[in-house]
Amino acid sequence: MQHDLMFKRLANEDGGTVLVEIDGATFNARAGDTVAAAVLAAGMIPSRTTPLSGSSRAPYCMMGVCFECLVEVDGVPNVQGCMTLVAEGMKILPQTGARYLSMAEQEMYS
């Protein structure tokens, strides 16, 4: 998963870190990061595959428009990473293809 990182953090005042889990590995995100920013900083690229062709994608517009940043957050599929702030202990996984709506999931939520 880990590519050469395309993004470097600016050194700015320390707003504190938020410990999250990205694709199974712990990662120190910054307080105020979106999930998409954390995903890019951690190098989880691609962060999803598309439902029809299965092609690989990563966060792109970072402002809620393009839906390329869909990931699974704490078991919830198809979350827009750029519209969601990181939270302590959050588990972030790639979104692989179309989501499932399984009977098990139905029972889990009910």
Binding site: L52, R99, L101, Q106
Partner: protein, 374 residues
């Protein structure tokens, strides 16, 4: 910029007014009959029922008070397989036709009993040849494990199916053009008149002369028909549809209210509203649609909705189509229906053949608009 004062005059064998599912299916069938065909389509201001529909190829329950309509719907369903293949061979577009049967889900026992009575009567009317099954809750759950616990059952119409209506619209237009048809957009229709044993239609800067003219303009037919001695008492009836994110396939049969497309999208319908020409959406109706869909399939509670739309059905007073050649202006034809998908194969086949001048394969007398003059 110059202004043209006189319309340019153009010749064609048949002018079809309306470039939706109905007009294009007929136009394609006319080309198959060796005719030169021009389709005049309105601009983006058009109401375009063809861009808002649900995509069912549906037979069960249709025509319970009109056996001829039941027969026509079933004939079209039988012709659909070959028609879809023809479209794919000319365009490479797979319209995602699937005819494995369709479910009409009934939430309570009274609804299921009423439905069963209606289909039994239709089977009797069809001389026993009307394939359907009535499924109780357990039988339905065996077929569709995701069905909700409070659903009474369903009727399974073995001739029902569905397809992707937007791909169909594109395939029809591409096939028509590939076979030499002329499709003109932004062609708002002006005057239509009879002349020299044919017709003259003004569309924008052009005048189209043809031996025959077909009105397939949906709700627009109401205004156009009287110019040709025809009557099209059609009214808009709004349906709203909700669209969800794509999900892994779980629903392998279309249902009357919920279907999963070949791409995994869920379409949730529908409503029947008398709101004039307003094609918008309302929170109240969308909530009703979502509520019913989640009673049928509780797992949809967690699905994301990505868009919704309203579209206007083209409804006659009795809900049945009008197929009619003008007695005042022979050569002028009126076609209107609210099932442009289901009837598409029939429109492109026997209906187009009838307009082309072949002997009627079956009587269309019952579909004349005179039935409303009582």
């Amino acid at each position: 910029m110059s202004v043209r004062l006189r319309a340019d005059c153009r010749e064609t064998d048949v002018t079809v007014i309306g470039g939706g599912l109905v007009g294009l299916a007929i136009a394609l069938g006319l080309i198959r009959n060796g005719l030169k065909v021009t389709v005049l389509d309105e601009g983006d201001i058009a109401l375009r029922a063809s861009r808002g529909n649900f995509g069912l190829v549906w037979v069960q329950g249709k025509g319970d008070t009109c056996p001829e309509y039941a027969q026509l719907s079933r004939l079209s369903a039988r012709l659909w397989g070959d028609f879809a293949q023809e479209l794919e061979s000319f365009t490479g577009i797979d319209v995602q036709l699937s005819q494995q049967g369709g479910l009409l889900i009934c939430l309570d026992d009274a609804e299921l009993e009423q439905r069963q009575r209606m289909l039994c009567a239709m089977r009797e009317q069809a001389g026993g040849d009307y394939p359907f099954k009535v499924l109780d809750h357990a039988q339905l759950k065996a077929l569709v494990p995701a069905i909700g616990p409070h659903v009474a059952g369903a009727t399974l119409g073995l001739e029902d199916g569905h397809l992707n209506p937007l791909l169909l619209l594109r395939a029809l237009a591409e096939a028509f053009i590939a076979r030499g048809g002329k499709l003109l957009s932004n062609a708002s229709i002006g005057e239509i008149r009879q002349q020299d044993g044919g017709f003259s239609v003004v569309a924008g800067h052009d005048r189209w002369n043809s031996a025959k003219v077909v009105l397939a303009a949906g709700l627009g037919n109401k205004v156009l028909a009287p110019q040709l001695g025809l009557s099209a008492p059609v009214q808009p009836n709004r349906g709203q549809i909700l669209i969800t994110e794509r999900i892994q396939p779980f629903l392998h049969y279309p249902t009357g209210h919920v279907r999963q497309t070949g791409d995994g999208t869920m379409q949730l319908g529908d409503s029947k509203e008398d709101v004039g020409f307003n094609s918008g959406t309302t929170t109240e109706v969308m909530a009703q649609i979502a509520h019913r869909a989640t009673r049928m399939f509780p797992l949809l509670e967690n699905v994301r909705m990505v868009r919704a739309w309203g579209a206007l059905r083209v409804m006659t007073p009795d809900g049945y189509p009008i197929y009619e050649e003008s007695r005042v202006c022979p050569g002028a034809f009126l076609v209107t229906c609210h099932s442009g998908v289901t009837l598409g194969a029939a429109h492109s086949g026997p209906i187009a053949d009838w307009i082309a001048g072949k002997p009627e394969a079956f009587s269309l007398e019952v579909f004349r608009a005179a039935r409303f003059d009582v």
